[in-house]
């Protein structure tokens, strides 16, 4: 290893040693002297470079991080809170939607379900006990009135069935009660003029703001009932 190369390599990396370097040092006293000088220089450089560090720097760094992560924590809490609020809102809306939206797609399904649900409350032998006056009082809500009861009216009252408020009339029929529903026009429920299942049949009438649905058993002359309703009802504005 020649002198120049040795010096270059030692000045670049004073602590570097390999076999070639060690051999070169051993064989040459001038190189040993050079290394001694270099060692002194290295000490000086090291001392000069190790400028004093502010005593409290480590503590400051830890303190600042503590504050910063506290802020971060607060932000996280806020985010979590708003996420919880969103979830609660969505759940509320879902429940609302499920409770108050119609399960039934058309008037027929709705009416048959309603009749079946309340069938046990009414019997064809019940005495007529609703007067025309009280019927019309209830009809006022739907802006309609009847000029006669056109049959034996067993029951007339508001019903909330599957989210829609309707007026439920029950007449004495030939063998089983005839149900008439007056309910407001609902966009969610499709109007259907005739419907039936294995026991019941029904017809619907569409007026300005309301639908009138008649449901009776298969023997019942529903068409006749329908005519009676149309003949006797008048709508106010």
């Amino acid at each position: 290893m020649d002198d120049l190369k040795f010096r270059r390599s030692m000045l670049a990396e004073p602590n570097y040693r390999d076999d070639a370097v060690n051999a070169a040092i051993k064989s040459d006293s001038a190189k040993q002297k050079f290394l001694q000088e270099l060692d002194t220089l290295e000490n000086k450089i090291e001392q000069a470079m190790h400028i004093p560090v502010p005593e409290d720097l480590a503590n400051k760094l830890i303190l600042r991080q503590t504050f910063a992560s506290h802020q971060q924590q607060k932000r996280k809490t806020r985010v979590r809170l708003s996420m919880a609020a969103s979830v609660a809102l969505v759940m509320g809306l879902t429940v609302n939607f499920m409770m108050f939206s119609s399960t039934y797609k058309n008037l027929g399904d709705y009416a048959i379900a309603h009749v079946n649900y309340e069938a046990s409350h009414f019997s064809n032998n019940d005495q007529p006990r609703v007067t025309l006056a009280s019927l019309n009082k209830k009809m006022a809500k739907f802006k309609g009135s009847f000029d006669s009861t056109f049959g034996s009216l067993i029951f007339a009252d508001y019903c909330r069935f599957d989210g829609s408020k309707s007026l439920h009339l029950v007449f004495q029929g030939q063998s089983s009660p005839v149900n008439i529903f007056i309910l407001p026009d609902d966009e969610d429920i499709k109007f259907i003029a005739n419907f039936a299942n294995d026991k019941l049949q029904g017809r619907s009438l569409n007026f300005n703001h309301s639908n009138i649905i008649l449901v009776g058993d298969k023997k019942e002359p529903i068409k006749q009932w329908q005519e009676r309703v149309s003949d006797h009802i008048t709508w106010s504005i």
């Binding site: 000045l11 670049a12 220089l41 000069a48 720097l57 480590a58």
Partner: protein, 171 residues
């Protein structure tokens, strides 16, 4: 969380001094160096989970600090470009011969071109090998070795000339 805190505090205690010194030699200003170290450690805290190898922590932090320093120049392009000797703390008044010697040599180190000084600082303070310095500075190893040689050679020449210079100053 607590574990992360412990890791962080250990990192701060072990490496803040070297990082501060490295920062100082980048910007020649105690306060700016302190700011740089603070920013560096804050960033380190946020990314601490990504640091898998504790051995790599030092070069990782140095890389963050270099980036922070570069960002400082993006923000304001004025000052800090020229080194002024006056910005180095004056220790003459109260200190020993050794400290005066240090002070003098600090001036010489500060006057060195940045490209020579930085590898030298990384080698002396950081204890990195030529290869590691090449990695941190994105240079090839031969370039780093040449710069290290030139840096130390300049300081050697300055020190060899010192008595003459000091003699002139003193009288």
């Amino acid at each position: 969380m607590a574990k992360k805190q412990v890791r962080y505090e250990a990192l701060v205690k072990a490496l803040h001094a070297d990082l501060y010194r490295y920062g100082y030699w980048l910007c020649h200003d105690k306060h700016v160096a302190e700011d740089l170290v603070q920013e560096t450690f804050l960033r380190a805290w946020r990314a601490l989970d990504s640091l898998k190898d504790e051995k790599a922590a030092k070069s990782w932090l140095i890389t963050i600090l270099r980036r922070e320093n570069a960002r400082r120049f993006e923000r304001k392009r004025f000052d800090m470009s020229e080194y002024e000797e006056a910005t180095i703390a004056d220790v003459k008044a109260t200190s020993s011969e050794q400290e005066i010697e240090n002070y003098w040599l600090r001036g010489k180190i500060a006057q060195m071109p940045e490209e020579y000084r930085e590898p030298l600082v990384l080698q002396v303070i950081g204890g990195f090998s030529g290869e590691e310095i090449a990695g941190i500075l994105s240079l090839n190893k031969n370039t780093v070795m040449t710069r290290l040689f030139r840096a130390r050679n300049q300081l050697k020449e300055a020190v060899d000339d010192e008595p003459k210079l000091r003699g002139l100053h003193n009288g």
